[in-house]
């Protein structure tokens, strides 16, 4: 039996609407559930206190410090590489066999699961280069992991800069590099920052690649060669080893709020920069 088009439309749209609603509800549920269970545990002592008894009691200050430092190290390494790559691909070369290979490499790197990054970081940085579980090993591993994101968003942003700006710059006697520095990069900045923030967000939430490279020491790091534990790792250990459900929820709440803030900041920054440009 054939369903008349009008009814099939109502049926299809209804089903798809329900699917969309379900998706949104799941998001809301995850956030509300974690915040509801976790926020009661969060107070100043929890945020700025040192953990006691493996995290069963006390605060999560070392994990917060680790969560701030590790992405910073990763960005400091990945940003020059990624933006430099994007500038090269967009400004300094035409589409050749070489750029196709480079792009293919970036695409492949983007698809590698984080556990493989963890394995690689462990065997290469931790074991072979004898750096041990530390901030630098973890930062380098994460840098490789977020590199494709930064390359892609930066290249897209650079290509979106109107060609007329480049022509004007050249016609006023600028070299290509001067044009990149003075015209292209400033105008591509919102896009580049977005890519970097996406990378930060991924680093903050990452566990598998971090736990095997940065370790999980619950101390404040003094140097790049000290092990750190991020909030995501701390949460995982508390939850997985059944150390403290209460503190696990608390850590998860802080983690989710941080990630929401990072995302909001990304949007805010993009809008402010876009507004400033047309002012």
């Amino acid at each position: 039996m054939r369903i008349p088009p009008r009814y099939s439309q109502i049926l299809a749209v209804g089903l798809m609407g329900a699917a969309t609603l379900l998706t949104l509800l799941v998001l809301v549920f995850v956030v509300v559930f974690v915040l509801g269970k976790g926020l009661p545990a969060v107070n100043l002592q929890f945020l700025f206190g040192m953990p006691r008894d493996m995290g069963r009691a006390g605060g999560i200050l070392p994990a917060i410090v680790g969560t701030v430092l590790l992405p910073l190290v990763a960005i400091a390494i990945a940003m020059p590489l990624g933006v430099g790559t994007a500038v090269y691909l967009a400004e300094y070369t035409r589409e050749t066999r070489l750029t196709k290979v480079l792009r293919f490499g970036t695409d492949c790197l983007a698809g590698i699961p984080s556990i493989i990054f963890g394995l690689f970081g462990f065997i290469f940085f931790v074991v072979m280069l004898k750096m041990g579980w530390c901030l630098l090993s973890g930062g380098l591993t994460l840098a490789i992991m977020i590199l494709p994101t930064i390359i892609r968003t930066s290249e897209e942003a650079i290509r979106a800069v109107p060609n007329a700006y480049r022509e004007v710059s050249f016609s006023l006697g600028a070299t290509r590099w001067e044009t990149v520095l003075k015209v292209v990069l400033p105008n591509a900045l919102p896009g580049i920052v977005t890519g970097v923030m996406l990378g930060v967000g991924r680093s903050v939430g990452e566990t598998a690649a971090v736990i095997f490279t940065a370790g999980s020491a619950l101390r404040l790091p003094a140097t790049m060669f000290d092990s750190v534990r991020t909030m995501a790792v701390h949460f995982y250990i508390l939850a997985r080893e059944g150390i403290s459900a209460e503190n696990a929820y608390g850590t998860a709440a802080v983690l989710i709020i941080s990630i929401l803030l990072i995302n909001l900041a990304t949007y805010g920054m993009m809008h402010r920069m876009l507004a400033a440009r047309t002012k």
Binding site: V168, F170, L172, G173, P186, R277, T278, K279
Partner: protein
């Protein structure tokens, strides 16, 4: 071989190829110092290609190559050791569509001087005032130099672009690519006025699709058609007694 001593630019059998297309065919001409050369011709006649070749903006398009010689003050600008960056500082370009860079009016004007390493604040301010005045824009923007150039009207933006070219200290030649095509009559008049004053200091080549504009401001006029320069001579002669019948037909509006 080369023209007489008061020729700023000398072209001999100068051709531009765009891939397999021969977009500019063996042009030979002398552009005299401190004069305005008007270049007229229908769309696709090679006017813009010609203009962009003179400060080597065509370098940015990889499939473009040139043949023949183009001399600026006797030096081949396509010579192997010629400094392109220096060339572009001496030969400025104003595009058909005004492109204010997304920065303040002040920074727009100073884009060139800063590239040349001028840092002194007082000197920079002087350059801004002098250039904007010469482009007939100073009075309109002097109180809001820190405003973004993008917020100016189209006509103001084009004058800002002119000021930006004039701010370059080594400037000798100004190339204008249909600079008034998108502008209202008043802005057009201001640009034309500026040009007639500026020719005392610079050599100007004005590509225009408006033959009347060429008649108003150009000392000499060249007529381009399908990549060839049909003729070139004093504006009065070209407009009243053209050597080639096609020139007359174009000017009187029979085609193009």
């Amino acid at each position: 071989m080369s023209g007489d001593t008061n020729s700023k630019l000398v072209l001999r059998d100068f051709s531009v190829f765009h891939g397999k297309d021969h977009s500019l065919r063996r042009v030979s001409m002398d552009v005299k110092t401190n004069r305005i050369l008007g270049v007229i011709g229908p769309a696709g006649s090679g006017k813009t290609t010609f203009l962009r070749a003179l400060n080597r903006l065509n370098d940015l398009t990889p499939e473009i190559r040139t043949e023949g010689t183009a001399l600026l003050d006797g030096d081949d600008i396509y010579g192997g050791s010629y400094d392109v960056v220096r060339l572009r500082k001496r030969v400025g370009m104003l595009f058909a569509l005004p492109v204010a860079l997304p920065m303040s009016i002040y920074d727009n004007v100073l884009y060139g001087p800063r590239l040349s390493g001028v840092r002194d604040r007082r000197r920079l301010s002087e350059v801004v005032e002098r250039s904007l005045t010469a482009a007939f824009l100073w009075d309109e923007v002097k109180d809001r130099l820190q405003m973004s150039g993008l917020r100016l009207s189209g006509g103001q933006q084009q004058r800002l672009c002119l000021a930006r070219v004039l701010a370059m200290e080594e400037l000798e030649v100004i190339l204008l690519d249909e600079p008034c095509s998108g502008l209202d009559p008043i802005s057009t008049a201001k640009i034309e006025d500026a040009l007639t004053i500026l020719k005392d200091r610079y050599t100007i080549i004005l590509v225009t699709n408006n033959t009347k504009q060429a008649a108003r401001v150009a000392d000499e006029t060249a007529f381009f058609l399908m990549g060839e320069m049909v003729e070139m001579g004093p504006t009065g002669t070209v407009f009243t007694v053209p050597a080639d019948p096609r020139t007359g037909e174009y000017i009187t509006g029979k085609f193009g």
